[in-house]
């Protein structure tokens, strides 16, 4: 009896190892029935020195989240971040899957995130809302190398005009357009390096800078640990684009980590 592969043109395996890269989503989605529990953490500025134990004493933002694979191509999730006491709901839909036989050379996914700031400040509900959306285009170039390009938009229903310590007026914009550029290079089966760059295009809030992050992916069976240095203390895409004010290459970066743990709930 001749031997034939069951699905020779099936999707390639894991373009990225986790549903997130550093601050942004990767095209990798959860298989149907899988639940991913995520802890994201970023500390204070690492270059503040040993007095603050390289940022570990600094104010940390933490996001706890769960995402669930409704289908192999669709996941939904919720999370809660410490900063702004932010609750967010999100989805990721894989529209195209890169195939092993090359018939489809790219992976295409859409993501959306709606955040609700719950600080007690007298705002109306609609004033508290913020949104992030992205089109993720990625390719697993080889077993070692994957790349991703992601046009994205961030919108805040409410922004502020502030005065800094020098008396200068700082004006925030409601909407920011950005591009997520990311890559992963596997050093071994279990270890990969990550890089992510989020340039903002067009108008931007005063002080907003482009976030550049680097990190390590460590895979141990059901866990994926991501250790990284990033300038951003914000942990959702819409905030990372619009609210980051620190610059990696000026030494303003902080240590952070993501822990991803996958469970089967079928």
């Amino acid at each position: 009896m001749p031997r034939e592969r069951a699905d020779p043109g099936g999707p390639v395996e894991e373009v990225f190892w986790a549903p997130t890269i550093v601050l942004t989503n990767s095209v990798t989605n959860l298989p149907q029935g899988n639940l991913n529990f995520t802890i994201m953490h970023s500390f204070g500025i690492a270059t503040d020195g040993v007095q603050d134990l390289f940022g570990l004493d600094g104010a940390a933002n933490i996001r706890f989240g769960i995402d669930y694979g409704v289908f192999d191509w669709l996941s939904v999730g919720v999370g809660r971040s410490r900063f702004d006491k932010l609750y967010d709901g999100r989805f990721k839909a894989n529209v195209l899957r890169q195939t092993k036989d090359g018939r489809m050379p790219l992976e295409l996914a859409l993501t959306g995130n709606v955040g609700v700031m719950t600080l007690e400040n007298g705002f109306e509900f609609t004033d508290r809302l913020n949104y992030g959306a992205a089109v993720l285009l990625a390719r697993k170039v080889s077993d070692r190398l994957s790349v991703q390009v992601a046009p994205m938009v961030s919108h805040f229903n409410t922004v502020f005009i502030e005065e800094d310590t020098d008396g200068a007026i700082l004006e925030q914009k409601n909407t920011h357009l950005g591009l997520g550029l990311a890559g992963r290079f596997a050093i071994t089966r279990r270890v990969a390096v990550l890089a992510e760059y989020l340039p903002v295009f067009g108008e931007r809030s005063d002080g907003t800078t482009d976030a550049f992050s680097v990190g390590l992916n460590l895979e141990t069976g059901g866990h994926v640990f991501q250790l990284f240095f990033t300038p951003s203390s914000w942990l959702t895409e819409q905030h990372a684009i619009a609210r980051n004010t620190d610059q990696f290459f000026e030494g303003d970066f902080r240590f952070g980590f993501n822990v991803n743990r996958v469970f089967s709930v079928r």
Binding site: R3, E4, A6, G10, P31, N34
Partner: protein, 179 residues
Amino acid sequence: MRYALPFFLLLLVSPLQAQVYMTEGGRAEFTSSVPLHTFTGTSDRLAGRIDLAEGTVDFYLDLETLDTGIGKRDKDMRETLETDQFPFAEFFGTLATPFDPASRAAQSVRVQGTFKLHGVEREVEIEGTLQQTADGLRVEAAWDINLDDYDIVPPRLLIVKVDEVQAIRIEATLSPENS
């Protein structure tokens, strides 16, 4: 004579007449243990062919169709089995005990042949049952394999090592080849 035509037609469609049975949708399952935990991987893409006239038994499974319920674990399994290089688990052998195709009872049988996994071939004897049913030829079998015998290094989950002995189970209903 007036009953002859219906009789011959009945013979043509009866699975009892078939000598060769095939499936591409059998079920294969392995059970793996780590300390304090057991998990199962399954596939419904087991392919098989049994020729009762020749007494041959031929089965194979595309290992990438095995699903343990967690995508990350599936990926680990495929890397451990090196499925890019060795995509199939295969058995080819012969019936070593008699089987009466006219009986509808489940009959214990033993097959002898070569089991190939991870590029390593080993001679094995497997016990199971064969049964003629209205849908075709029903096969059930279970046996253990030792990963070390097939040059497979059991994966580790942190410091916990997956047991080298894996319990294998297959079940399938094979249809007459030309049905």
